[in-house]
């Protein structure tokens, strides 16, 4: 039954975050820019590293899986493209960001809670939920699609490089594969997932941070819970969205 308590409290928190009017728009705007830098721009490095290696590994694995000479080599490019666009760059990257960004958000807000900084905001007359959480949600929802597009591009490029250096697929075959039977709708599907997963990461992690009680130990627990619950929800919504948008 505790799950209903958490769902109810989460929805009430989101109501405070989304419905309330900001005290001063200029300050909220500055906060959004700060969060874009803090949550988005700082994730570019890890996104690039993971994506390039994943693209390379997908290409090599697919190539070694195809030992039938009648299967055209360009299918390696198709597999790399579809794997990156449909699943890796939107879902797996979001799971990785749930770990990085989610724990960051939960520990930041959790520390503010236990050190009474949130109480200080409330006493000043600031809607602390809106002030702390809304900029994080907007920044994540705005920037996550950029990270996903970047991940797709770098991943596919990683596959291309892997093909050249290992010789499992020629550049020509790989590029033919990338263009073969391409459906632009896949990109829309990936963007929809990126936006929804970004909202899940930012809001669920903020929820866990905002309701932290106790001290340093509890901040750590909130951080862990933020990652676990965000990841589970991403996987659940991945299935729901795939059923709704692709099938």
């Amino acid at each position: 039954m505790k799950i209903f308590y958490h769902i109810g409290r989460y929805l009430l928190l989101m109501q405070r975050v989304i419905i309330s009017k900001p005290e001063k728009h200029s300050i909220y705007f500055k906060q959004i820019i700060r969060e874009i830098d803090n949550l988005g721009v700082s994730s570019i490095g890890i996104t690039a590293i993971i994506s390039i290696f994943m693209g390379a590994v997908i290409t090599i694995q697919t190539a070694y899986g195809i030992d039938n000479p009648f299967v055209p080599k360009y299918l390696i490019g198709v597999a790399a493209r579809d794997s990156m666009v449909l699943e890796f760059s939107s879902t797996i990257l979001s799971l990785i960001l749930a770990g990085k960004v989610g724990s960051n958000i939960a520990s930041e807000i959790g520390t503010m809670r236990v050190s009474e900084q949130i109480d200080a905001l409330e006493i000043m007359g600031v809607n602390s939920a809106s002030y702390l959480i809304m900029p994080k949600i907007i920044a994540s929802v705005f920037f996550n699609p950029f990270l996903v597009i970047m991940s797709m591009s770098i991943g596919i490029f990683g596959g291309y490089l892997a093909g050249i250096f290992t010789g499992v697929v020629s550049p020509e075959d790989y590029i033919v594969g990338l263009q073969y039977s391409f459906r632009p709708y896949y990109l829309i599907y990936a963007m929809i997932k990126a936006v929804i997963f970004a909202f899940i990461i930012a809001s669920v992690s903020s929820y866990h941070g905002y309701y932290t009680k106790g001290g340093a130990l509890e901040v750590g627990k909130s951080s862990t819970n933020a990652v676990v619950y965000s990841s589970v929800l991403i996987l659940l919504f991945n299935m729901i969205l795939t059923q709704l948008l692709l099938v």
């Binding site: 005290e23 001063k24 503010m112 900084q117 409330e122």
Partner: protein, 251 residues
Amino acid sequence: MIKLRNVYKSFGDKEVLKNISANFEQGKTNLIIGQSGSGKTVLLKSIVGLHEITKGEIIYDDVVFSQLNLKNKKKIRTEIGMVFQGGALFDSLNVEENVRYPLEMFTNMSANEKKNRVDFCLDRVNIINANKLFPSEISGGMQKRVSIARAIALNPKYLFCDEPNSGLDPKTAMVIDNLIKEITREFNITTLINTHDMNSVMEIGEKIYYFHKGEKWWVGTKEEIFNTNNKELNDFVFASELFKKIKEKNK
């Protein structure tokens, strides 16, 4: 003036505050004292609205604060300054930005006016050459002083201090106590200080409320403390040898 009328506060089945009525006077340092767990912090947080009271009324200058909706409570809150036990300075902002924060959020002052106000507040609490330092880079005493500067930035009508000198050495604690007292007189504000430090009581206590097990047990001045026969208060105040000797000397 802040008035409490038959205030009760419970957490689940546990009643933490029982039938509290009090008048906290303007221009005076009102001290709330009591042992740990006597309900002091809950009372302070209830008065500022961080906890919803179960029953009773909290009145700020004839406005029944406890019955206001969130929007109207916010208006009163802009007239409240609070100094937290740990300072509660914003980690991501430096000293100057911490003090400027309420000005940025709630006023339309020009950049120059804000700078002057920040300088005035920091000067008032004797913070010099620390404007660009972050809270983690300054001492506990300085953090408390910056916290006071932030609390007075908007010229509050009410100042709340939750154990303002906890964790400080006696000399710095006295500096903080006297600063709060001076500011209270200077700006004629209603100040409530929550403490269990008897040095503070003797130094700045003008009206003292002793709390015991969630009830208002005794009210009086610091001079009256020496003559009271209230057993619980005597046990609390004269727990140390030093204060026992002071009491004997006063007799």
